[in-house]
């Protein structure tokens, strides 16, 4: 149960919004649930709905609308390469293709050890530092900018080592 394990955090989140507007807390509570379980479980959605006094389907629709929430288990690390126009003008498409080639997967797939999922994403607001990607993990989100294939593969090796953070 989230409410037992994270009581203080939940109270701090609810305190940000007017007492009669609890529903505003749905997004931060979903982040909390995602951090706790790696993805958002049905049980967590039900619990958040109960905390906020809304229907579980309403919470579910929020999960579905926003791309940073996942209701399915994903690789421990999600490497998300921005391939929008400004990044693509600086070689982001070729970078993504080569990265996948090196990992032996296609865009959107997870490596066989279940650790790395590589995805193409929309603008990350760092267009001057392309190619770049963000890594989503239990540790949150981290940007890795001005990447070369060498630096990216080096980082992936680091993340694969058993004592890496976020695993």
């Amino acid at each position: 149960m989230l409410s037992e394990k994270y009581e203080q955090e939940i109270d701090a989140i609810l305190a940000k919004y007017p007492p009669d507007q609890k529903r505003s807390a749905v997004m931060p509570l979903l982040y909390l649930a995602q951090r706790a379980d790696g993805f958002i479980t049905k049980q967590a959605m039900n619990e958040i709905a109960a905390i906020l006094g809304v229907e579980p389907t309403e919470v579910g629709s929020i999960v579905g609308f926003y791309t940073l929430y996942s209701d399915k288990p994903v690789g421990t690390y999600r490497l998300q390469v921005c391939t929008d126009l400004p990044c693509a003008l600086r070689g982001a498409d070729e970078f993504l293709e080569k990265l996948c080639e090196n990992l032996g997967i296609k865009v959107g797939q997870t490596t066989s050890d279940g650790l790395m999922t590589v995805e193409a994403v929309m603008c990350l607001a760092a267009c001057d530092k392309a190619p770049l990607f963000q890594v989503q993990s239990g540790e949150g989100l981290a940007y890795h900018e001005n990447q070369t294939m060498e630096s990216a593969l080096g980082l992936i090796d680091q993340l694969r080592s058993p004592d890496a953070k976020g695993r």
Binding site: S24, M27, P28, Y66, Y69, L85, R90, A126
Partner: protein, 433 residues
């Protein structure tokens, strides 16, 4: 005097530390407004400065504040830190490098409209920035610069961060308010506008991070000082996010009215491999494509001059496209973005961006005929003026201008592609039967 109003952290080390920011006059403007100015006076100064919204629309900031409905309470301020337009990366630098100036701007805006709570809506990817801002807000509270009964007055203010979760549409102010209310981030029908019906149905001022970050120095140095920079109708500096095919991409804070040529060739150090600029997108992916003629390169980048080129300055996210790029590829990129980001509320945008993406994919793959280019243009025209917010309009800017101004690129793709071969083979077959 220093060239920086916003990116002052480039000259002042550790400006993201509260003591350093205060050593450079930080929070004196906020103290001054709370202790010595009426809220309306603050709004008047901002009005007189001519500051215009830096998020894209260029609406006069002071006027927006003055529109706040005084008959309905409480009031809110929401800072738009959702920065998601492809080509835009300026708010991020402000919040990382000069966060206290931004927070002071939020505080002054809140005092001007007598809001006691302000929210900063950040895109979900700015998770670390939000964590830093939370720390900075608690530093301010500890220093007595935010909280209850400030500076011995009756005025109290709390600032809170709120993280989005990956939706471009939430940069649109009414979608942002819906999202902040815990609903799907979809735009509202306007009017009523947020200054009368905003967050929780209450009067709300929504301003961009860059806009708000201008405010402390306007109060400290005066409206006349601000007006001495930039142009008559577009005063002040602007952060130009320069990206694409340039040697030195990055943020450049320059007076409004600086010509494209100076940004691209002096600050951006020109185009790699000595190539030529072919097209400029001045407002990120939402831009009409400007043909990079000598005249266009000499055009001042301000809210009045760029429209003369059949485009908008918007958020001043200047994407440079060189002459090695075919414009149908540019559209292929922007349409993938917009069809992904359409929130799905209005049918013309939801269906239109979907079909435009499919048509441009066919064109780009060389599998289309000229009729498909015409069809693309036709679908674009059907989105125009039919949606609640500007996303649909933005999605067609590059399409309509691209086909009109770079027709040759589409002609080449159509005649070079497989479509011509397929058509020839079909005609042959017909003749043979």
């Amino acid at each position: 005097m220093s060239q920086y109003i916003l990116l002052r952290h480039r000259e002042i080390p550790d400006l993201n530390q509260l003591e350093v920011y205060r050593k450079h006059g930080g929070f004196e403007a906020f103290q001054k407004v709370v202790t010595a100015m009426q809220p309306e006076e603050v709004t008047e100064v901002v009005k007189a400065s001519g500051l215009r919204g830096r998020g894209g629309a260029g609406f006069p900031t002071g006027m927006k504040w003055a529109f706040t409905d005084k008959k309905s309470w409480p009031h809110y301020v929401v800072a738009n830190a959702d920065e998601s337009e492809p080509g835009t990366f300026k708010d991020r630098e402000i919040m990382e490098g000069n966060p206290f100036q931004f927070l002071e701007g939020v505080a002054i805006a809140a005092y001007a409209v007598q809001a006691h709570a302000a929210y900063i809506y950040l895109r979900g990817e700015f998770w670390k920035i939000a964590a830093s801002l939370d720390q900075e807000i608690s530093d301010l509270e500890a220093a007595g610069l935010l909280g209850d009964k400030l500076f011995g007055s009756d005025y109290s203010l709390r600032i809170y961060t709120h993280l989005g979760a990956g939706a471009y549409i939430c940069g649109e102010e009414t979608a942002m308010l819906e999202s902040l209310e815990g609903k799907l981030g979809q735009p509202r029908l306007r009017p009523p506008f947020p200054p009368s019906f905003g967050l929780y149905g209450k009067p709300t001022v929504v301003n961009n991070v860059e806009t708000l970050s201008n405010v402390p120095l306007i109060i400290a140095r005066g409206a006349d000082w601000y007006r001495s920079i930039g142009t008559d109708k577009s005063p002040g500096t602007k952060i130009f996010s320069l990206s694409g095919r340039v040697n030195r991409p990055g943020n450049y804070e320059l007076p409004l009215g600086t010509p494209f040529r100076e940004l691209i060739y002096v600050h951006g150090d020109g185009i790699p491999d000595g190539r030529k600029v072919k097209a400029i997108m001045a407002a990120g992916a939402s831009s009409a494509l400007i043909v990079a003629t000598e005249e266009a390169l000499d055009t001042p980048m301000d809210y009045e001059s760029v429209p003369r080129l059949g485009a908008q300055l918007g958020s001043a996210s200047v994407i440079v496209v060189d002459d090695s790029v075919s414009i149908d590829w540019v559209l292929h990129k922007t349409l993938h973005f917009f069809s992904h980001e359409s929130c799905g509320k209005c049918t013309p945008c939801r269906e239109g961006t979907y079909w435009m993406r499919h048509i441009i994919d066919r064109i780009y793959a060389g599998e289309a005929a000229w009729q498909d280019v015409e069809l693309l243009n036709e679908v674009a025209q059907q989105i125009k003026g039919k949606c609640l917010c500007a996303l649909g309009e933005f999605s067609i800017e590059a399409v309509v201008s691209g086909i009109e101004r770079f027709e040759a690129d589409f002609r080449t793709r159509v005649s070079d592609g497989k479509a011509a071969e397929i058509r020839a083979a079909m005609e042959m077959e017909i003749r043979n039967t």
